[in-house]
């Protein structure tokens, strides 16, 4: 019986958050769910992955069609779930496609932000829970381990990860090219645009120590400062605070420059020329573009940042294409192993291997015993055949009989013990 891998579920591609949250399986309920899953008919092995972006079940089954039905029922088993609604958003991958899907998810090629590293860690956690509860078997063990190694290959051989593709993350990426550590740095927010708030949020997440907030309307500055746990300062006193800031983000609606060359020269003097990163998030611009001609000041406006983000995106797409090729090659590799996990080819391969060894040994022996008569030669030949057949009889009968649950386990063991897959058979 041939086993098939099935990956079925909803992800951010296929389903809105309202659907995903209905199906989500909480960590506390995971073990119970895993036990329920593998107790279902036609499901031999199962792993559940439930993150904020996807709820997916990966299963191995000897009867794919029936298993898909079962899995749909499993996902929609809770009472509050509308089965038809789920069906509309469900994606089902089978066989080769399921393996490819799993590899792509692990390599973060299917993520909302392609290349983000969290998904691999989450997958490992969920797989380990499944392995601990015994719901993952020979096939899924190998499949998940393979997906982790694919992810590693993609990470080291392509540049898919670590590219800032949004404007605010590009700003943070640049910050890290100027400053060694953000932990002793102060950022200043002049004005309160959505984009600059996002950048401030990113910077704080990366460990910026303190935030100074100012706005023409002081109350707004106070509100923002409270939100970010920053310090509000009056707009009129901005020049007093400028030298404290290592990163200054401008997003006021002013139509003349909030920061002039002269002001920056002064603040640099007071900073003893410690580098300043100026991010101008507003149109019309808040910071005089000529500021960039000063030494130790780095001024980026919104176009510069989108240029950076854009080139990162192009880069990432090129790298993603390379990553997809890696995935395809690895899927082929895995499928070869999986196909081998079939009774008939395994028995044939086992017999062939034994027969080859027998022939070689007979030839060697007979070559050194030239003065044997034909009768003796035939006797030796017959004896060798008998030994091989008797030795193989047990394993082969067992393999044929084990068409039940653990077939793949027996097959994998047989192939491993007799080294049928060569040296690389894990």
């Amino acid at each position: 019986m041939r086993r098939e891998i099935i990956a079925l579920g909803v992800s951010h591609h296929s389903a809105p958050i309202e659907i995903r949250e209905q199906l989500a399986i909480l960590p506390a309920a995971l073990d119970v769910s895993l036990r329920e899953l593998v107790a279902l008919p036609h499901i031999d092995e199962g792993v559940i992955l439930s993150t904020c972006n996807r709820v997916e079940v990966t299963a191995a089954s000897a009867n794919g069609d029936a298993a898909v039905e079962t899995l749909v029922g499993f996902l929609a088993r809770a009472e509050h779930v509308d089965r038809d609604e789920i069906l509309r958003h469900l994606t089902v991958f089978r066989g080769r496609d399921a393996i490819r899907h799993l590899f792509r998810v692990a390599a973060s090629l299917d993520s909302m932000v392609v290349g983000e590293p969290q998904i691999l860690g989450q997958m490992k956690e969920f797989y380990e829970r499944a392995a601990a509860s015994g719901s993952a078997g020979t096939i899924l063990h190998r499949c998940f381990h393979k997906s982790f190694s694919v992810a590693k290959r993609v990470r080291t051989e392509t540049g898919v990860a670590s590219r800032a593709v949004s404007i605010s993350s590009a700003a943070v990426e640049l910050t890290e090219k100027i400053f060694d550590s953000l932990e002793d740095k102060t950022a200043m927010l002049i004005g309160a645009g959505a984009m600059s708030e996002l950048a401030a949020r990113h910077l704080l997440a990366r460990g910026v120590r303190s935030l100074i907030v100012t706005n023409r309307t002081y109350d707004r500055a106070v509100d923002l400062a409270r939100e970010f746990r920053g310090t509000p300062v009056p707009f009129a006193e901005i020049e007093r605070y400028l030298p404290m800031a290592d990163i200054i983000i401008g997003s006021t609606a002013a139509d003349d420059y909030v920061l002039t060359v002269n002001m920056v020269e002064q603040l640099l003097q007071r900073r003893k020329n410690r580098s300043v990163f100026l991010i101008d998030m507003s149109v019309p611009r808040n910071f005089d573009p000529r500021i960039n001609d000063l030494a130790d000041v780095y001024l980026y406006d919104i176009d510069d940042l989108s240029g950076v983000a854009e080139s990162n995106r192009d880069e990432r797409e090129r790298e993603a294409a390379k990553a997809e090729q890696i995935v395809v090659a690895e899927v082929e590799d895995f499928c070869r192993w999986l196909d081998g996990l079939d009774v008939v080819p395994t028995i044939v391969a086992l017999r062939e291997k034994a027969e080859t060894i027998r022939r070689q040994e007979i030839a060697k022996t007979l070559a050194s015993l030239r003065n044997l008569g034909e009768r003796e030669q035939r006797a030796i030949e017959a004896m060798s055949t008998a030994i091989v057949n008797k030795l193989l009889h047990g394993p082969i009968t067992q393999l044929k009989r084990e068409a039940s649950r653990d077939e793949s386990l027996y097959l994998a063991a047989a192939r491993g013990l007799f080294e049928i897959d060569g040296e690389d058979g894990e």
């Binding site: 100027i178 400053f179 550590s181 003893k272 510069d304 080139s311």
Partner: protein
């Protein structure tokens, strides 16, 4: 045997240069580790070659100009390996490797005999002069590489260009801080070398200071590095400090090469 090790070190320096070069233009992150491994191998070979030479001919045999350059190169590589443990300084490595290659090449081409140092200079002050001076030179060499890297990174940031090279570069602040630490240490050792050098001169020639070309040039270089160490407190950091470091190193190199090759004077280890 010693020259066999030196040949191996030279070959490895060349290979390291190529690897780091490839690392900077390709996207293969693993090349960084290959480069570092090659550099460490080259360092081991180089140190082995120097140790064998010192063992066979006495440690003074490392002090003549050509051997001295090779010894300095070896210290430079050691310092680079030390700072690379925690931070990716591949771009700096791409500068260190060819410099180490060229410096060691001098020892390979013009191997000085055991008598490179005039016998009248053999004194306790000789190692006390040469050791800090050489380590100081090596530190200044690394500072130079850090500064060039700083200037490259600074230019990339100013021009808003975002190549792959950009990604490989450490942050400006990292480079600037390390540069300052190196310059400070280098300056301290250089100062010690200058003082012990004068004491050596007094013992050999009877005068602490005799306006030898080597002394004049060293003094000029010393003043420049003194200015550089001071400059930071008045705000000469970042780009200006990097430019000054590059300039000071050029002067150092000129005085070291010029004094030894053009006006050898009485200073030991002339280019024979």
């Amino acid at each position: 045997m010693s020259s066999l090790f030196l040949t191996a070190a030279l070959a490895l320096y060349l290979l390291t240069t190529i690897t780091y070069g490839a690392h900077l233009i390709s996207k293969r992150a693993q090349l960084r580790h290959v480069g570092l491994g090659l550099m460490a191998g080259a360092f081991a070979m180089h140190a082995g070659a120097l140790a064998m030479r010192a063992g066979a001919l006495g440690y003074e045999s490392l002090f003549p100009f050509q051997e001295g350059l090779s010894l300095i190169a070896c210290i430079v590589v050691g310092l680079f390996l030390a700072i690379s443990v925690r931070t990716d300084f591949s771009v700096v490595g791409a500068l260190v490797a060819p410099i180490a290659f060229l410096f060691s090449l001098s020892a390979f081409i013009f191997e000085a005999g055991p008598h490179g140092i005039p016998p009248e200079l053999h004194s306790v002050w000789l190692p006390a002069h040469v050791a800090p001076a050489f380590v100081g030179y090596a530190i200044f060499t690394v500072a130079f590489c850090l500064s060039v890297t700083y200037l490259v990174q600074e230019r990339q940031l100013k021009q808003r260009r975002k190549g792959d090279l950009f990604r490989r570069l450490p942050s400006l602040e990292t480079l600037d801080n390390l540069n300052f630490r190196f310059v400070t240490w280098g300056f301290a050792l250089f100062t010690i070398g200058l003082i012990t050098g004068s004491l050596l001169a007094k013992e050999t020639w009877g005068a602490l200071w005799s306006w030898e070309p080597v002394q004049v040039w060293s003094l000029i270089t010393w003043l420049l590095y003194a200015a550089l160490v001071q400059a930071r407190s008045v705000g000469w950091r970042g780009r200006r400090a990097a430019l000054l470091t590059v300039f000071a190193f050029a002067l150092l190199l000129l005085s070291f090469l010029g004094v030894n090759l053009v006006f050898p004077g009485k200073h030991g280890g002339g280019g024979s």
